[in-house]
Subunit: 222 residues, 2 copies
């Protein structure tokens, strides 16, 4: 039995009291991962952005809205986790400043967006013996370019597993997936229902957990 | 029995294949208006942005994503409508250009937003004998300023009724509302459940419909 931290859903980055920037994400994949992890007997901390779907009973849910809130919740839960699965579609830019008053319609609006922190990269710096997995949404039409880019992400964020997917999966029931580990080539999982993808990824994470020490040292080694 | 065109939910304005700009809106008010209109025996055309809630059975639902799609759907349904209630939280700015590839994280991003067309103002130009109602979300702390601004909207968009609300109502079950008509002062409705607001607004729209000709001329008179 492992304790698994799962991030799920989009984040919203406010421009003013009514407008926000966000990412397309139904949250379906993250919720299915939480469900599958619970079914396999694990404990689940679910850091959940705004979604229209209900989280599975049995998960400890930490609701968040912005990337900053999601990062803070993850940092809080991470020290007691054995594994992390970053399934959230974090909005990776935010307005430099949010206005407290609703902006009136009218002239064009030059909006300055600044990059948000990368949550998995941040947690990777305090990874220790934990198993970390993430997703890479790739829009390149060339598979080799998509895999090369996902491998860069894996190295930079110190991930054990990266699921490569494409925008077709957004909001739907299934997608086309590749699974990339630290070693070996990317494994083509083909077209899967999201529940099947959840099962395949949990399987990979469990295998990595078995290979790590039976009494993992959970101190924040870098 | 009238045929009522209701817009509902937010719109989403894409920046690239995964990111979008949107407005906070659960769609609850618009869906409750549709439900209440059906209960009163009317026919409902529901132009519905992306929401997590199911529309009431019996409404003719036209799903849309962007403001441009919502405007096109409204223009199509408007000629055969007796009344229009604009309850959608239309995103009133959109990126000047949407990128077809996902933008990489990195440097700040200067995003140029341009104003979207105003759907109720557009329909107001072809109003004819129809009853038009809309919402004005006001963030001013001064009630008089909020009412003055809502009255400007009423005139400019040729509305018969404007509901003034504030951002607290977003996503919740109730709100604080004022109802402003073409004549007389704003009526303070106080704190209402959204279902109560739906009933009060449908009442006002029905009264206006009774006052208009029994056999309304539906040609596109300006």
């Amino acid at each position: 039995v492992a304790r698994i931290l799962i991030t799920c859903g989009p984040t919203r980055e406010p421009l003013d009291p009514v407008r926000y920037l966000s990412n397309s994400s139904s949250g379906r994949t993250g919720l299915l991962l939480a469900e599958e992890a619970l079914r396999r007997g694990h404990r689940v901390d679910l850091v959940l952005g705004p979604v229209g779907l209900a989280p599975p009973a049995g998960a400890r849910v930490i609701p968040v809205v912005t990337c900053a809130e999601m990062l803070a919740a993850c940092r809080e839960a991470h020290p007691r986790s054995d594994a992390v699965i970053g399934a959230a579609a974090v909005c990776d830019f935010r307005p430099r400043a949010a206005s407290t008053e609703k902006r009136r319609r009218g002239a064009p609006w030059l909006l300055e967006l600044v990059p948000n922190p990368d949550i998995l990269e941040d947690l990777g710096k305090r990874k220790g013996p934990r198993v970390h997995a993430g997703f890479a949404l790739e829009t390149e039409s060339e598979p080799d370019a998509a895999i090369a880019h996902a491998r860069e992400k894996l190295e930079k964020k110190r991930l054990d597993w990266v699921v490569i997917n494409s925008p077709e999966a957004l909001g739907g029931e299934e997608g086309f997936y590749l699974l990339l580990g630290r070693e070996g080539p990317a494994r083509n999982l083909g077209r899967l229902r999201k529940s099947e993808l959840a099962s395949a990824l949990l399987e990979a994470v469990e295998n990595s957990l078995k290979r790590s020490a039976p009494e993992p040292d959970k101190s924040d080694r870098v």
